[in-house]
Symmetry: C2
Subunit: 318 residues, 2 copies
């Protein structure tokens, strides 16, 4: 039975985790209820979003656990006061789950019984835009029910992760010593998303080389502004995690330096561009089912047109 | 001075490398001349395209050199006879050139004086679709002037490289022993594009582990059909390169197994989808310059609408 989103939002704001879980399930599922939920969720102030991304095994979960603990202890991120902390876990590349994941494991032992923490694995169960829209929507649901800060943890550094990370205000890319080859392979993608680099497991061999590789990448490539700091951590012992928290806080304060309104405008632009792209792409996808599309493909295969001409003809007709 | 594309195509077909170079420059540059060139180039039969991709230092250039030598010696790729061989070199991630590259280096000593080989580095100098369209366009120019087989060499395995590789009929992903971390990080992307895996520098330590990692990836992930073979090479000595050539030939014959027309239809569909996507993205980009877009952003930032509603309003107006 579909429940009324307004009622659920009110219950979730009052502390009901069951109501909150149901709202996020609606968002994952797409359809009319998703639209009703987001129509309300986007009316509330957005939370501040910290994204953590990196390959499996880099230590993101342990790091996120540490950050949650620090968040609860400090009670603020930069100038933003925080009571509750939300965590969304996403694994777009998992061939088993089609999107769900990890998350609800070891860490749950740490924080699951703490009322101030809400941890949720996200899957796409039908959302038109897949995870790249389901994640920002779920973030706004958390914001609407009172979470001032939300962490997003994604596995991997491919295009999907870049899209998801673009929903974060501060994006932390987690690497390990000896990760030189992988960084080379992903240079452009990493530079595109990273506000902060972490070298986790910094007690392992290869730290100096990895730092040098990262510095070099930042020297040569077009990184985000301001230049992403490189923080060394050993998440298993907690070493360096306070420095990481401070780096996130500093980036938060930098982003909000020109005012909350300017920041909201940037977020709004990113939100709108994401949805526009998905919507337009869906319309193009719908073209592929049309007879006119098949006709253009046949003409192309026969050398009777070129793809630019074919695309123009199709779009003019659609 | 812009020269007439029809004349240039005729001269290039007659063997003029200067005319060919000029045509490809037009394709890189975008604009009305590009459209005229491709309008003619897509009327001719497409060449068979072999893509090689992998991180810097994996040994792609040496491998490509070896494949060119074998191609010239054998005189055919599977069932396709070949006289001339074209090579396009692309480095989308290079921060120095914005797209140009390597290529015209060591290897030139091997083949530059051979009339049957044409090697060209590609840059995007204004093409609307960037390299993901400039590369397929340049491929068709080579096809139109008589090259039956074209190699594309790209550096890296990010989304851009995936897009470029999708223009290839057979995509070879080049790895090295000890490349386990990088493969993990790019699993989804690698599986998406690879028709053949190469472990180059197979005389180095870590070969067995890398093969095992690759086999495991293929066992668990959704790879292309048929299951990509894993070929071990030492490009510097030529060891294994004949086997690689045979694997490429086998994939070529597999692809053409259901007939040339079916293959052309697949290529045509890919070409059309690529151009549609770029065209649509450009339209979305154009929206961002409109007053109506700014108005929706302001309303979003103020919590007066949601991005789905805002996108619908904008697209209905545009």
């Amino acid at each position: 039975m579909t429940r009324d989103p307004a009622e659920l939002l009110s219950e979730a704001s009052g502390g009901s985790r069951a109501a909150l879980a149901r709202l996020i399930t609606y968002v994952e599922s797409g359809g009319p209820t998703q639209r009703e939920v987001v129509a309300r969720a986007y009316r509330a102030a957005p939370p501040y979003v910290v994204g953590l991304t990196g390959p499996p095994g880099a230590g993101k979960s342990t790091l996120t656990d540490q950050l949650i603990a620090i968040a609860l202890e400090r009670g603020s991120l930069g100038t933003t006061a925080l009571g509750e902390v939300g965590v969304l876990c996403v694994d777009p590349s998992s061939p088993f789950t089609g999107g769900a994941i990890l998350g609800d494991r070891v860490r749950m032992q740490d924080h699951a019984t703490d009322d101030r923490v809400y941890i949720r694995s996200l899957a796409t169960r039908g959302h038109l835009g897949g995870l790249s829209l389901a994640v920002p929507d779920a973030v706004r649901v958390l914001g609407a029910v009172g979470f001032p800060v939300v962490f997003i943890e994604t596995v991997g550094v491919g295009q999907m992760e870049v899209d998801i990370a673009s929903a974060a205000d501060t994006t932390v890319v987690v690497t390990n010593p000896g990760w030189g080859d992988a960084m080379q392979a992903n240079k452009a993608g990493l530079l595109e998303v990273a506000d902060i680099f972490v070298i986790n497991k910094a007690d392992r061999a290869g730290l100096a080389e990895t730092r040098r590789d990262l510095e070099q990448m930042l020297d040569l490539g077009v990184a985000r502004e301001p230049r992403p700091p490189i923080v060394e951590t050993v998440a298993s012992t907690g070493s360096g995690t306070a420095e990481l928290w401070d780096a996130i806080g500093a980036h938060h304060d930098h982003l909000l330096g020109d005012g909350v309104l300017a920041h909201r405008r940037r977020q709004a632009r990113a939100d709108l561009d994401r949805v526009l792209e998905v919507t337009v792409r869906a319309r193009v996808g719908a073209l592929a089912g049309m007879a006119a599309y098949d006709e253009q493909v046949a003409r192309l295969a026969a050398g009777e047109t070129d793809p630019y001409q074919a695309a123009e003809t199709l779009l003019a007709e659609s």
